[in-house]
Structure formats: structure tokens, C-alpha cells
């Protein structure tokens, strides 16, 4: 357990007045230094999991630990090591960013006071303006600063790049890398699949309160549909391509097709060997496609 940052066993939550489990026997084991993405549609149980880990709500059954400490009984000690960012972050609108960070620093003095200013500089956060006058992106920066300012070992982040412009997203990814390089672990819930693809080592898919599967990014890439853009000299052999098991074929121009293939590649190359191919490009892994494929497949099994 020494290298486990976040652990849960049978963690469940039923809200009062409901007859279903919002979270159903969640088993998690997130290693030190790992960035774990938590994916799922709205209402799947992502926020419930985060709120349980943060001890904002009480589990109905099961238990969980962060850095070996119980999330319910050792919550205060755990919070010394945790940085948290809520999905829809609520700040104090009448305070300036500086006042708000001072308040948070009073509650939890940062290890290095200069680090807060360094972070503010990195994210180009304007701390002298009242929070109510800031744009969503700028409020999100303040939210990120308060999560990172005490250099926590564990980060629990809900939609962390929401509202950030691409430059700031880039800065956030860098900061995340620095955190994990220093041994930090991250639990991130997100709808932004490109973001998850970019930062996570492993992804858990949750649906209707159940963790359906967990896969590393490498496993997803290996099992994922690979998409090729193939240019033929002459008419593409569409029927032959469509006959390949697991292939989806889409014409994308004269003589050009997009072939999305799940599974063995050799049948595709056998077909291509019979025709004159002018060019072939492989597109990057599309996690969004995987996400949709995953949930569609589950839907069809219902």
C-alpha cells in the first residue's frame, strides 16, 4: 500500500430519499505519481466520488483512504496533503483574488510563500480585481492557484481546464507534469477527452454509479480503432475495404477514404496490396471516439 495514493473498496453512496446508489461499490487504486482520469457522462457518479473523497458527503458503504488515511476519520490530516478544485468553482465575489488567496493561506499556510506569487505570474492571474469582475477563465485561474499553492501531494480536480485559453491550458499541463515528477498524484474528473488524453496515465470509465472499466492510455491506444486516410490512384475499393472485419469506411474526397479499423491490421494491408496506393496517413488516437464507442457498445448490450 506504500505506493498507493488513493484507494477505495466497495465505496458506495445512496442519497437520502432515493432508492438507487449514486455510487456503487467503487474499487480504486491510484498509484503515487499517477494521473488518473475519471470519465463518464453527467450523473454517472464522478462528482459523488470526489465529494466522498473530500469528506463533503458520507459513504453509505465501503471505505476509502488517501495516503493511507481514512477519508472520514482522518479527513483533517488528509486535507494537509490535498489540493482540491471543484467543477463549478464558487469563490467569494466581493473579495479580490489576493484577499481570497490570503484567506486560504491563513487556513493552510503555504510551504513556500513565494510559490503563490510564482504561480500567479505563470498563470497571469490578476489578483487585484474583485472576483465578481473576473471572467470565467480568470476565476478558474484563481481556483487552480488555491489548489496548487500549498504544493499538495494529491490533487483532486474536477474539470480543471474549464474556461482556460489554450496557452493557460498548456501552462496547466506543465504544472501537472512538475507535480507528478515530484511524486504527486492526480485524480481528475473531466468531460474534455482531449484533455484527459493529454494528461492521464490511466482512465476509469464510470456509468450509473459503477466503474465499468479501467485502462491505461497505452491499453486504450492498443485496443482503439486506428484511423487511416488512404489515397488511391483511381477509385477506392470501397466494398473490399468495408468487408474487412471491424472496419468502417468513409469516402473523404476523390480517390481518398478514411478507414477506421479496430483489431488486426493485416486484412487491410492485404487489400491495399492489390491496389495502387498514392498515400497513407494514420491519425492520432481519438479518445472521444473511444469514449463514444465504449458507451454505445454498453448501450447496445442493454
Amino acid at each position: 500500500m506504500a505506493d498507493v495514493a488513493i484507494f477505495s473498496e466497495g465505496l458506495s453512496k445512496r442519497y437520502p430519499g432515493t432508492d438507487f446508489l449514486a455510487l456503487n461499490k467503487l474499487d480504486l487504486s491510484i498509484k503515487t505519481g499517477e494521473v488518473y482520469g475519471f470519465l463518464g457522462p453527467n450523473g454517472a457518479g464522478k462528482s459523488t466520488t470526489i465529494r466522498l473523497l473530500m469528506n463533503f458527503i458520507q459513504p453509505t458503504a465501503g471505505h476509502a483512504q488517501i495516503l493511507g488515511q481514512n477519508i472520514v476519520t482522518d479527513s483533517v490530516a488528509i486535507k494537509r496533503q490535498v489540493g482540491y478544485l471543484a467543477g463549478e468553482i464558487a469563490l467569494y465575489p466581493k473579495m479580490t483574488g489576493r484577499q481570497f488567496l490570503d484567506y486560504m493561506s491563513d487556513l493552510q499556510p503555504p510551504k513556500n510563500k513565494a510559490y503563490v506569487n510564482q504561480l500567479a505570474k505563470r498563470f497571469q492571474a490578476n489578483l487585484n480585481v474583485k472576483i465578481r469582475d473576473l471572467s470565467k477563465g480568470n476565476r478558474q485561474k484563481i481556483g487552480l492557484l488555491q489548489a496548487f499553492m500549498h504544493q499538495p501531494k494529491i490533487l483532486i480536480l474536477d474539470e480543471p481546464t474549464s474556461g482556460l485559453d489554450p496557452l493557460m491550458q498548456e501552462e496547466f499541463f506543465k504544472l501537472l507534469k512538475e507535480t507528478t515528477a515530484a511524486g504527486g498524484s492526480v485524480f481528475v474528473s473531466s468531460h474534455n477527452l482531449a484533455e484527459v488524453q493529454r494528461m492521464c496515465d490511466r482512465v476509469g470509465f464510470i456509468r450509473e454509479g459503477r466503474l465499468i472499466t479501467e485502462q491505461s492510455m497505452a491499453e486504450i491506444a492498443a485496443a482503439a480503432a486506428r484511423t487511416f486516410t488512404i489515397t488511391f490512384e483511381g477509385a477506392p475499393p470501397r466494398a473490399e475495404l468495408a468487408a474487412i472485419p471491424g472496419a468502417k469506411v468513409k469516402l473523404s474526397g476523390s480517390g481518398q477514404v478514411n478507414v477506421s479499423l479496430r483489431g488486426e491490421l493485416s486484412p487491410l494491408f492485404k487489400v491495399l496490396a492489390k491496389h495502387k496506393v498514392a498515400g497513407i496517413d494514420q491519425q492520432e488516437l481519438n479518445l472521444e471516439e473511444e469514449f463514444l464507442h465504449f458507451y454505445r457498445a454498453k448501450d447496445s448490450k442493454k
Binding site: 437520502p16 465529494r51 463533503f56 458527503i57 486535507k79 467543477g87 487556513l107
Partner: protein, 267 residues
């Protein structure tokens, strides 16, 4: 816990100032005309005697409305000061934790290494400080104004009446605090039920001296233990104050028991 108190007070700084300005203005307007009213007291008492006893008890607990004690009691301490401080205490009680929870800013606080017990204690001490600041300001200003307009009531008795009015307001505020800490009712219900407890209790306590069967139910409510004219004349039985302390302690204990392990409201 200290940062919770300090920042809660900081956030409410302008509100505290305006409450003090408002209550000073009220005391000033009430007492500045006392010399004029005092000069016509015989005539005014005659008119006042025409009002039925039951109706009189709704706005004073003394038969001599225009004596120094009668005037100060009926115009400030019998109803208005407890009411004003009660409104302040109830709104604070409902919002100190309730607003943070409604706005989900409470998650920012509890994401830090601070226990729910300390959060609750910090918020309640901040609320106590606000009521004491506004109450203290009104008491001091009342004592000063009484000197200025020649309204002769011992300063010690004014302080005691003000202290008990503040204690009464606090006992109403903790009811709202407890109802929001319980979590299910929400802020609006906290305010509504605490206001009903205050006003219903006031009416019952006022009428209980005329309607005998109301005496027992009136004992549940704080106004039954608050007698401003007795306070201003130095005849108050301070054993009655145990009621206020008991209500405050009981509500805080219930708040703590309910809040320490319950689910926070979601965003």
C-alpha cells in the same frame, strides 16, 4: 479557527458599520424628542389610560409610559431593540454557514485542514462578535443619549437591559443557526421559523398576563423571560437569564451534532 472568525468579520465589515449606523439613528430619533414628550407626559398618560390593558401589553410592560423608565422601556428596550438585534441575529444565524453551503464556498473551507467542529465554532463566534458589536454600540449610544436628553435611568441598568436584549437576540439567532446546520430546512426556512419563534413568542408573552391559559405555552419562548422595565429599575430576576444561556448552548450542541457528520448540500 481564528482565520474563520477574522475573515468572516472582514467580509461583513460594511454590513456591521451600516447596522451600527442604523441602530444609532433609531436610538437618536427615539430619544431626541424625549424632553418635548416629557413636558406633555401628564396629558399623554391620560390618553394612554384609555387604551385597553391587553393592547397596552403589546408595546410596553409598564403602566407609566412617560416616566424615564417607562419611556426607555416602551420605546427602545421592550420591543424595538430586541427586534432589531433579533433580525440581525436571525439573518446572521441563517447565513453564517447556510450561505456558505448554498454558494458551495464551504467546500473551499473544508478542503483545507480544518474540522467541521472548528468551522462551526469559528462561524458562531464570528456571529457572536457581530451581534455584540452592534448590540454594544446601541447600548453605549443609548446611555450617552439618555445623559444628553436628561432621561434619568442608571447607566448600569441601561447596560443590563441592553445586555439582556442582546442575549435574547442571540437566542433567536442560534435557532436560525441550528436550523441551517441541520441541513434539511435551508436558509429561508431557518429565517422563517426563527422569526416565527421570535414574533409568536413575543405575542404570547405579551398577552399571557391577561390571558391566563397562555402562561404555560409562553414559557417556551424567550420574550417570556425578558422584562425590560424590571431591568431598567434594577428589579430583574437574573435567574431568568439562564433560559437564554440554555437555549444558546442547546442549539449550538444540536448544530454541532448534526453538522459534524452530515452530507453538505451539493452544487
Amino acid at each position: 479557527m481564528r482565520p474563520i472568525i477574522r475573515w468572516t468579520l472582514q467580509q461583513r465589515k460594511s454590513s456591521i458599520i451600516w447596522w451600527c449606523v442604523g441602530i444609532i439613528f433609531f436610538v437618536f430619533l427615539t430619544l431626541v424628542f424625549y424632553p418635548t414628550i416629557n413636558s406633555q407626559s401628564a396629558q399623554l398618560n391620560k390618553s394612554f389610560d384609555q387604551i385597553p390593558q391587553t393592547a397596552k401589553q403589546l408595546f410596553t410592560d409598564t403602566s407609566d409610559l412617560f416616566s424615564p423608565i417607562g419611556y426607555l422601556s416602551s420605546q427602545i428596550f421592550y420591543l424595538m431593540m430586541p427586534l432589531i438585534l433579533g433580525v440581525l441575529a436571525i439573518s446572521l444565524g441563517a447565513s453564517l454557514v447556510g450561505k456558505e453551503e448554498h454558494d458551495t464556498t464551504i467546500e473551499l473551507l473544508l478542503a483545507r485542514p480544518i474540522s467541521r467542529t472548528k468551522l462551526l465554532l469559528g462561524k458562531s463566534l464570528a456571529g457572536l462578535a457581530v451581534v455584540l458589536i452592534v448590540g454594544g454600540t446601541s447600548i453605549i449610544f443609548t446611555a450617552v443619549m439618555c445623559r444628553l436628553v436628561g432621561l434619568e435611568v442608571a447607566v448600569m441598568y441601561i447596560l443590563e437591559a441592553g445586555l439582556l436584549a442582546t442575549l435574547l437576540a442571540l437566542s433567536l439567532g442560534v435557532v436560525a443557526f441550528m436550523l441551517t446546520a441541520l441541513g434539511r430546512a435551508g436558509r429561508a426556512a431557518g429565517i422563517g421559523l426563527a422569526a416565527a419563534f421570535a414574533l409568536g413568542g413575543y405575542i404570547l408573552a405579551s398577552l399571557s398576563s391577561s390571558i391566563t391559559w397562555l402562561r404555560w405555552p409562553a414559557k417556551i419562548f424567550p420574550f417570556n423571560y425578558y422584562h425590560s422595565s424590571e431591568l431598567l429599575s434594577g428589579n430583574y430576576n437574573w435567574a431568568n437569564a439562564i433560559y437564554f444561556v440554555a437555549v444558546i448552548v442547546a442549539c449550538l450542541v444540536i448544530s454541532w451534532l448534526a453538522f459534524r457528520r452530515r452530507d453538505l448540500l451539493g452544487s
